[in-house]
């Protein structure tokens, strides 16, 4: 059962073999139980890359912009990993991933590695495996990781939890959308891009943004993000955007904020792994899943609060540090 990742796969990966990288990403994506092994092997190679989220509504040009950003960053001397997420069907589980159609300029470019991910059980704009996939890419030597979310609405905020910088992409004629978006992702963006600036209606969007940030409601929490305009089609504004992002990246690295973000993410990872591990052990010892099913049915029938049962269950838990060997039987 506990078969490890083959030694020769790691060897090829560390020698820069792209197929080995592809296969390790697949492991990160499909084999959650192997993630600890990935983390162990990659740990000393992580910590320097800047992870940049690219998010925004469907059809604003995120993929096109992402590929142009990647090329710009590669020209500036970086190695760039791209993780592009497209939605999985809630019905079939399948996914149609079209990002590569917009990224033809990257074909054959060895400075860049691009991977499409289906969002699977993720409902916040990313696939749950996104951070692990980014780890593999960083371990492969990429120092800029662009993470493109599915087309989002207002509050798909997963991207905040696994990136260092967030770029929000908008387009002209979304003036009304600005109003509805202002309580969500828009407050979290480190940089806002109004793409397709060749289309009419650019000024309406820019004015709405000025209005929003001018009110200073968000200013108290975070600095007002720079707003840039681009036209991926006319190839306008791209060098400026790359330069601005690189400026933000160096502020991030120099100010210590990058390290703070890494630490916060590591804390969260540890908390989640421990609670998952404790739950698995608890469930294995007590058969809690089945017990909860029965209890829930009973409580719903009787229209009773679940809290007496919860308190009783918790009062019986005693945490004891177990030898690793002894806890292995639960397949954590």
């Amino acid at each position: 059962m506990k078969k490890s990742i083959p030694e020769d796969l790691w060897k090829a990966f560390f020698q820069g073999d792209r197929l080995a990288c592809a296969r390790l990403i697949t492991i990160a994506e499909n084999r959650k139980e192997r993630v600890p092994e990935l983390r162990d092997a990659l740990a000393n190679r992580l910590g320097r890359a800047v992870r940049i989220g690219i998010t925004g509504p469907p059809g604003v040009g995120k993929s096109t912009l992402t590929s142009l950003l990647a090329l710009g960053m590669a020209d500036a001397g970086h190695k760039v990993g791209i993780v592009a997420v497209d939605p999985s069907s809630p019905f079939s589980g399948g996914a149609f991933m079209g990002d590569r159609v917009r990224m033809e300029g990257l074909v054959g470019d060895q400075r860049i590695y691009m991977r499409s991910l289906a969002s699977r059980e993720g409902h916040g704009g990313l696939s749950p495996s996104t951070p692990d996939v980014a780890d593999v890419l960083e371990g492969f030597g990429m120092d800029r990781i662009l993470i493109e979310t599915v087309g989002v609405g207002q509050a798909e905020l997963d991207v905040l939890e696994c990136t260092d910088l967030v770029v929000l992409v908008l387009q002209p004629s979304t003036g009304d959308a600005i109003q509805t978006m202002k309580a969500g992702i828009i407050e979290a963006a480190d940089l806002i891009v109004v793409n397709k600036a060749d289309l009419p209606g650019k000024d309406v969007v820019l004015n709405s943004l000025r209005f929003l940030f001018g009110m200073g409601l968000t200013k108290k929490i975070r600095p007002v993000p720079p707003v840039m305009t681009t036209s991926a089609m006319q190839n306008e504004g791209l060098p400026e955007l790359v330069a601005e992002l690189e400026k933000l990246a160096s502020v991030l690295l120099d100010s210590g904020r990058h390290a703070d973000l890494r630490r916060a993410r590591m804390e969260k990872e540890i908390r989640e792994a421990i609670s998952q591990c404790l739950w698995t052990a608890y469930d294995g010892l007590t058969g809690a899943t089945k017990c909860i099913q029965e209890k829930a049915r009973e409580l719903v029938e009787k229209a009773e609060s679940p809290y007496p049962f919860i308190r009783e269950s918790c009062s019986r838990v005693r945490v004891q540090a177990l030898d690793k060997e002894a806890s292995n039987g639960h397949g954590a």
Partner: protein, 136 residues
Amino acid sequence: MAEQPIKVVVGKPGLDGHDRGAKVVARALVEAGMEVVYLGLQQTPEAIVAAALEEDADVIGLSILSGAHMPHFRRVKELMDQQGLGDRLLTGGGIIPTKDQETLSGMGVGKLFGPGDDPQMIVAYIREWVKEHPRA
């Protein structure tokens, strides 16, 4: 553990601009629960194989209606073998005479489909093939 979805790269090599068939098949695969990376029109064999490699795809599906199926399939298969993707399925469809299908089959290309074939046949074929060829 739930079975992982099959990943398929779908592309059209060469200059033929008829992508309706590729889209219909791609959509059928998605509805069958597969993860499809759609590359679109006018791809080179090199670009298709490079994408399949980065995506670690189980299957490459080519759609060719231009009559240029022989060189394209041959070249894609050659690149797959060179780049360590010889253990993945190369399949596809288009206007491909039976005689050519046989020749391609002899080169290690999988089953090919044509007009009138039910997309469900393709779904079933891919599922069966992946089941019979588990990857390490």
